[in-house]
C-alpha cells in the first residue's frame, strides 16, 4: 500500500473516531439528563419513604436520652431528697453537655424542677392512681410559634415512682439543617399555615412558605417549585400531629439546578474528553508520521551522512516494501558499490605507498647524497645522506635555491658546478666534478664528488635534475698524506745517503783542521781561519747527526712514567734560553698524569717545540706547556702554545717537511723529528697558527692500555 493512501485512510479513521466520540458525547449527555430526572424522581420518592423511619429514629434517640437521664443516680437522689437546687444544677449541666433544649422533672408532690431555673415552679401533685404516669411517650408541641419534640418518662427510686422527667428538643433551623445534611435534601417543617423551620436559605424559605400558604389541601404530594433561578423537586409528607392535633407537614426539597449543573459539568467534561481525544488523535498522527515516515527518512539521511564521512559499510537495516523501502534498497546497493570501488582504490594506494616507501628506503639507505632540483633551481627532495652531509652547511635543504647552495662552495667548486650544469643543458650528458665545502675559517674542508643528471617525466621531458654527491674527503686526505709521506721518505733517504757520503770527508777535514790548530801559534792570523774551519765542520757534523737521527731507524724504550718527570728536565734545560729571550714558561698539567712513552724521545719533542717557540719571540712572551688526559678518550693530549709572531698558511702546511725552515741558520729538521717521534708513538700532531698572535702545537699520544 502506498504511504500517502495509508496516511489518508488513517486520517479518515481518526476523523471518524473523533466524530463518533463527539456524537456519543452528545447522545450520552441527553441520555444522562433523562436518566437523571428519573433518578431524581425516584430519589424524592425514596426520601419520602424513608423519612418516617428517620423521624422515628430522631424520636427514639430523644426518648432514649430521657430514659438515660431518668435513671441517673444523682437525678434520682436529688429528686428524692428534696435537693431541688442540686437537681436543677445537675440538669443544667446535662443540658449544657448534650444540647437539648430543656429538661424538666415533675415530682409527685407537685414540685416541678426545670433546667431553666425560671421555670421551676410548683404544680399539682401527681395523681399516683393514674397508671399512665408509668408510661413513656413522645409528643410534638407548638409553643409560641416554635415546634418542640418532647419525650416524657417516669422516674423511679428503688422501684417507687417519684416523678416524671421530660426532655425537650426544639425543632428549629439548626436542627433541620443537621437533618438536611443527613438526608442530603433540604428539610422544612410547617404547622397550620406557617412554615415553622427550614434548612433552606431565606429566599427559598419564603417561596416555599408562600407555596405552603397557597396550597389548601396540604396532602402528600411531589411537585416542582421554581424559586428564583433554582428549580426544586419537592416532596411533602404529613409526619404526625401536635398535641393540639394540628398536622405537622415535612417538606423535602432537592435542587434540580444542582443536578443540572452536575449534568452540565458532566457535559463539559465529556466535551473536554472529546477535545482530548482529538488532541490524542493529532498526537497519534504525529507519532505515526514520526514512526513511519520521518524516522525512516532520517535513517536514510543519517546513512548518507555516514557514507559521506567515509564509512561505506553502512547498510539500512529495516527495509519495507514501500517506496521508502525501495529507496533504502537503492541506497544500500549504492553503498555496496562504493565500498567495492573504495577497496580496489585502497589496494592500489597501498601498492603505490609500498613502492614509494621502497624507493624512499633505497634513497635513505644510500651513502651517496641524492638531491633533486626542480627547473626553477630549488631543491625538492634530499635523501638522508644528503641531509647528514650538507645539513651542517645549509640547515634545511628542502626549498634551498641553487644560488644559495653554491654560495657555500669555494670559487673553484662553483665553477665546476656551473660548468657541469651547462654541459648537462647543452649536451644532455653529465660530468663528474669535485666540490669543496668549508664551514668557518679554520674548519676542515669537506670534499664531495658529484654529478648532475636530468630528471625526466613519463613523456621523457625534463622537469628537474638530480645531483648525486659522494664524500671523498677522507680519500683526498689519504692521497695527500701518501703524497707527503712519499715525499718525506724520499727526502729522508736522500739526506741520509748524502750525510753518510759527507760524514767521512768531514771527519778528515776536522782532523786536519785540528792538526793545523796545533801547529799554528796563538795570535797567528791564520789561526782564526783554522778555528772557523773546525767550528763549521763541527756544525756540519751536528747537521749530519740530526739527519742520520731522522732517517735512521732507532729502537724505542717505552715505559710508564709521570709526566712531571719528563717535562721538568726539559723546562730546566730551556730555562736560561727562555730568560734570555724574556720568555715566561707556563707549565700546566695534572700532577698525577701518567704517560706511557719513550721519555728521552718525548723530551726531545718538547725541547724542539719550546725552542721553536722561544726563538719565534724576539721581544719576549709566554709559552704555555699543557698536558692532560682527554675525558672519555684513549688519548693524552699535550700542547705547546706560544704568543709569538705566528705563521702563514703556507708555512703551516709545510712545517713538518725536513729542511723546511724560516730561520737562516735552522736545519729544518727539528719539527720533522718531532713529527717522526709522535708518529713513532702512534700519535698524531696538529698545528694551528695565526699570524701575529702565536702558534699552537697539539699532539695526541695514546694511553698505555690503548697502545
Amino acid at each position: 500500500m502506498y504511504i500517502s493512501l495509508r496516511i489518508k485512510v488513517i486520517s479518515l479513521l481518526f476523523l471518524l473516531i473523533s466524530s463518533l466520540a463527539f456524537i456519543f458525547n452528545e447522545s450520552s449527555t441527553s441520555l444522562i439528563q433523562e436518566k437523571t430526572r428519573e433518578i431524581f424522581q425516584q430519589r424524592i420518592e425514596l426520601l419520602l419513604a424513608s423519612i418516617r423511619s428517620y423521624w422515628d429514629s430522631e424520636k427514639n434517640m430523644l426518648l432514649n436520652n430521657a430514659i438515660l437521664y431518668a435513671e441517673s443516680e444523682k437525678i434520682i437522689n436529688y429528686s428524692t431528697y428534696g435537693l431541688n437546687n442540686m437537681l436543677q444544677r445537675e440538669m443544667e449541666r446535662l443540658i449544657a453537655k448534650t444540647g437539648f433544649y430543656d429538661l424538666e422533672i415533675s415530682l409527685v408532690n407537685g414540685q416541678i424542677v426545670s433546667s431553666n431555673q425560671y421555670s421551676s415552679r410548683r404544680g399539682l401533685p401527681i395523681d399516683l392512681r393514674d397508671t399512665r404516669q408509668n408510661l413513656s411517650w413522645i409528643t410534638l408541641q407548638l409553643i409560641d410559634g416554635a415546634l418542640f419534640m418532647r419525650a416524657e418518662v417516669p422516674v423511679h427510686k428503688l422501684g417507687e415512682f417519684i416523678g416524671r422527667l421530660s426532655l425537650r428538643r426544639k425543632l428549629d433551623d439548626t436542627r433541620l439543617k443537621r437533618m438536611a445534611r443527613n438526608l442530603q435534601a433540604e428539610v422544612s417543617l410547617a404547622v397550620k399555615e406557617k412554615l415553622i423551620a427550614s434548612s433552606l436559605s431565606e429566599s427559598s424559605r419564603q417561596a416555599l412558605a408562600g407555596e405552603h400558604f397557597r396550597n389548601n389541601d396540604r396532602k402528600e404530594d411531589i411537585f416542582t417549585l421554581k424559586i428564583a433561578a433554582n428549580v426544586y423537586s419537592i416532596g411533602r409528607v404529613i409526619l404526625e400531629k401536635t398535641v393540639e392535633s394540628d398536622p405537622v407537614l415535612l417538606y423535602l426539597a432537592v435542587s434540580q439546578d444542582k443536578m443540572l449543573s452536575l449534568l452540565e459539568e458532566a457535559q463539559s467534561q465529556n466535551l473536554s474528553v472529546t477535545v482530548w481525544i482529538l488532541v490524542a488523535t493529532m498526537l497519534l498522527s504525529v507519532i505515526f508520521s514520526e514512526k513511519v515516515l520521518i524516522s525512516r527518512i532520517r535513517q536514510i539521511r543519517d546513512g548518507a551522512n555516514i557514507i559521506a564521512e567515509g564509512d561505506l559499510s553502512f547498510q539500512i537495516s529495516s527495509v519495507s516494501g514501500d517506496e521508502l523501502g525501495n529507496l533504502a534498497r537503492s541506497f544500500n546497493r549504492m553503498a555496496s558499490n562504493l565500498k567495492q570501488n573504495q577497496d580496489r582504490l585502497q589496494h592500489y594506494i597501498d601498492r603505490i605507498e609500498k613502492l614509494a616507501n621502497y624507493i624512499q628506503n633505497i634513497l635513505g639507505s644510500l651513502r651517496t647524497s641524492v638531491i633533486t632540483w626542480n627547473l626553477r633551481g630549488h631543491i625538492e627532495t634530499a635523501n638522508n645522506a644528503a641531509i647528514q652531509e650538507l645539513g651542517e652547511f645549509y640547515g634545511e635543504l628542502e626549498g634551498l635555491s641553487l644560488r644559495r647552495f653554491v654560495k657555500k662552495l669555494k670559487p673553484q667548486s662553483r665553477q665546476e658546478i656551473f660548468d657541469s650544469l651547462r654541459r648537462l643543458g647543452d649536451t644532455g650528458y653529465d660530468r663528474q666534478f669535485d666540490i669543496e665545502l668549508t664551514q668557518g675559517e679554520h674548519s676542515v674542508t669537506k670534499v664531495l664528488q658529484g654529478n648532475f643528471s636530468t630528471l625526466l617525466d613519463n613523456d621523457k621531458k625534463p622537469y628537474g635534475f638530480i645531483l648525486t654527491l659522494t664524500n671523498i674527503t677522507q680519500r683526498k686526505i689519504i692521497e695527500q698524506q701518501l703524497y707527503h709521506a712519499d715525499k718525506l721518505s724520499s727526502i729522508g733517504q736522500l739526506a741520509a745517503s748524502v750525510a753518510h757520503e759527507i760524514k767521512n770527508p768531514l771527519a778528515s777535514i776536522k782532523t786536519l783542521g785540528q792538526l793545523l790548530q796545533e801547529e799554528t801559534e796563538v795570535g797567528d792570523s791564520r789561526r782564526e781561519y783554522i778555528d772557523v774551519i773546525v767550528s763549521e765542520v763541527n756544525r756540519l757534523n751536528g747537521v749530519v747527526e740530526q739527519l742520520l737521527k731522522y732517517a735512521r731507524p732507532e729502537g724505542s724504550s717505552f715505559c710508564e712514567i709521570a709526566f712531571g718527570e719528563v717535562i721538568k728536565p726539559v723546562l730546566a734545560l730551556v730555562h736560561h734560553e727562555s730568560e734570555r729571550h724574556q720568555v715566561v714558561l707556563v707549565p700546566d698539567f695534572q700532577a698525577d698524569l701518567k704517560v706511557y712513552v719513550d721519555p728521552e724521545k718525548i723530551k726531545q719533542v718538547f725541547l724542539n717545540l719550546i725552542f721553536n717557540g722561544v726563538q719565534s719571540m724576539e721581544k719576549g712572551g709566554k709559552i704555555f706547556v699543557r698536558a692532560f688526559k682527554e675525558p672519555d678518550s684513549p688519548w693524552n693530549v699535550f700542547e705547546v702554545e706560544d704568543t709569538g709572531c705566528g705563521m702563514s698558511e703556507e708555512t703551516v702546511r709545510r712545517i713538518f717537511e725536513p729542511f723546511f725552515t724560516t730561520r737562516q741558520r735552522g736545519t729544518g729538521l727539528g719539527l720533522a723529528i718531532v713529527k717522526k717521534i709522535v708518529d713513532l708513538h702512534g700519535g698524531k700532531i696538529e698545528v694551528s697558527s695565526e699570524a701575529g698572535r702565536g702558534t699552537k702545537f697539539k699532539f695526541y699520544l695514546p694511553c698505555r692500555q690503548e697502545r
Binding site: N77, L83, N85, L107, N109
Partner: protein, 312 residues
C-alpha cells in the same frame, strides 16, 4: 523595623511567661484524718499563706497514705498533731507553725430568726429546724456528711463532752432528737423527724458542702480554720453568708479542734516561716488523734450500721 520591635517584645514576653511558673509555686503536702474538699483546701491555703512568708502560690496536696510522706523530701508538710511524725523525711524539722481546724455548724443567714448568739442550744437548733420545715415541708433544712467516719467520730466526741458537762446520760426513745444523749440516736431521730436529710447517710463532706452551697440545706457541719471564727470578713469571703456555731448539742459551746503542724527543711525555717504561737482556748475541744483513730477503726462501722438500722 516596627514589626521587628514588636516581634522582639513578644518574644521577651513569651520567655517571661514561660519562665515564671517554674518558680511560682510552693508545694505543701497534707497529712491528716480529714477529707479535704476543694473548699476546705482553699480556706486552708489562705490561712497558711498568712503564716508562712513565701512569695509563691501555695499548692496543698493531701497524702493518700503515710508512705508517700517519705517521698515529700524537699517540700513542706502539714502533719496533723498526734500522727506519727517518724515517717517524715529525716531532714525535716518542726517549723513551729500550726494551723488549727475547727469543726463547726455552718448556719445560713437565710435561716429566719437565727439568733445573733455565738452558739445555739439544742433546743434552739430544733426550733429553727422546725420553723424551716414548716416553711418547706418537702425539703430538709439540715444536711450532714454521715458516710464520713470522721464526722461520726466528731458527733461522738461532742456528745460525750456535752453529756459529761450536763450530766445527761439518759437515752429515752420518746424524746425528741435534740434531747438524745447518744450521737447516733440524735442523728437517727433527726432524720426520722425529717430535719436531717436522709441522703446525708450516703454523703461525704464534699457533697454536704455542695448541698449547703446550693442552699438545699440551711445547716451543715464541716471543718474550717480556727481564724474564721473570729474574722467575719474572712468567713464571708470563703463561705458566703453563714454563721459558724459550735455544734448545738445540749448546751455545748465548744468547737472540736485539730492542729496541723508544719514540717520542712531547716533552711526553709530560717528563711520563709514566721513562727506563730497558738495558745490553748477554752472554746475548743482538742481531738486526740490516736483515740479517734482507734474509735474509727473499732467502732465506726457499728455506729454507721446503727445509724441505718435504727431501733432506738
Amino acid at each position: 523595623m516596627f514589626n521587628k520591635h514588636i516581634l522582639t517584645a513578644l518574644l521577651l514576653l513569651l520567655l517571661q511567661t514561660v519562665a515564671a511558673p517554674l518558680c511560682a509555686a510552693t508545694r505543701v503536702f497534707l497529712a491528716s484524718r480529714l477529707e479535704f474538699t476543694p473548699a476546705l483546701l482553699d480556706m486552708l491555703r489562705r490561712t497558711l499563706a498568712k503564716k508562712i512568708v513565701v512569695n509563691d502560690t501555695i499548692i496543698l496536696q493531701p497524702f493518700e497514705n503515710s508512705v508517700a510522706v517519705r517521698e515529700a523530701s524537699g517540700s513542706m508538710i502539714l502533719l496533723e498533731q498526734g500522727m506519727d511524725n517518724s515517717q517524715l523525711p529525716a531532714e525535716h524539722v518542726d517549723l513551729n507553725v500550726c494551723v488549727d481546724l475547727v469543726w463547726v455548724l455552718a448556719a445560713s443567714l437565710r435561716v429566719p430568726d437565727l439568733p445573733p448568739a455565738d452558739s445555739l442550744s439544742g433546743e434552739q437548733f430544733a426550733g429553727l429546724l422546725q420553723t424551716l420545715k414548716e416553711q418547706s415541708p418537702d425539703r430538709y433544712p439540715w444536711f450532714e456528711s454521715l458516710s464520713s467516719r470522721v464526722t461520726l467520730r466528731n458527733f461522738d466526741v461532742v456528745f460525750a463532752e456535752a453529756a459529761s458537762a450536763t450530766g445527761v446520760i439518759a437515752n429515752v426513745a420518746k424524746l425528741p432528737f435534740w434531747q438524745q444523749s447518744d450521737s447516733i440516736a440524735f442523728l437517727y431521730r433527726a432524720i426520722e423527724e425529717h430535719y436531717l436529710n436522709p441522703f446525708s447517710i450516703e454523703s461525704d463532706l464534699g457533697l454536704a458542702m455542695n448541698v449547703f452551697a446550693a442552699e438545699d440545706a440551711m445547716f451543715v457541719s464541716h471543718w474550717v480554720p480556727a481564724e474564721f471564727l473570729d474574722d467575719e470578713r474572712l468567713c464571708r469571703e470563703n463561705m458566703g453568708k453563714v454563721r459558724l456555731l459550735p455544734f448545738p448539742v445540749l448546751n455545748n459551746k465548744k468547737f472540736l479542734r485539730i492542729r496541723l503542724r508544719l514540717y520542712g527543711l531547716p533552711s526553709v525555717s530560717s528563711r520563709s516561716v514566721e513562727a506563730v504561737e497558738l495558745s490553748d482556748d477554752e472554746r475548743f475541744i482538742d481531738l486526740d488523734y490516736k483515740a479517734d483513730s482507734d474509735w474509727i477503726e473499732k467502732k465506726s462501722a457499728d455506729k454507721y450500721d446503727a445509724l441505718i438500722v435504727g431501733g432506738f
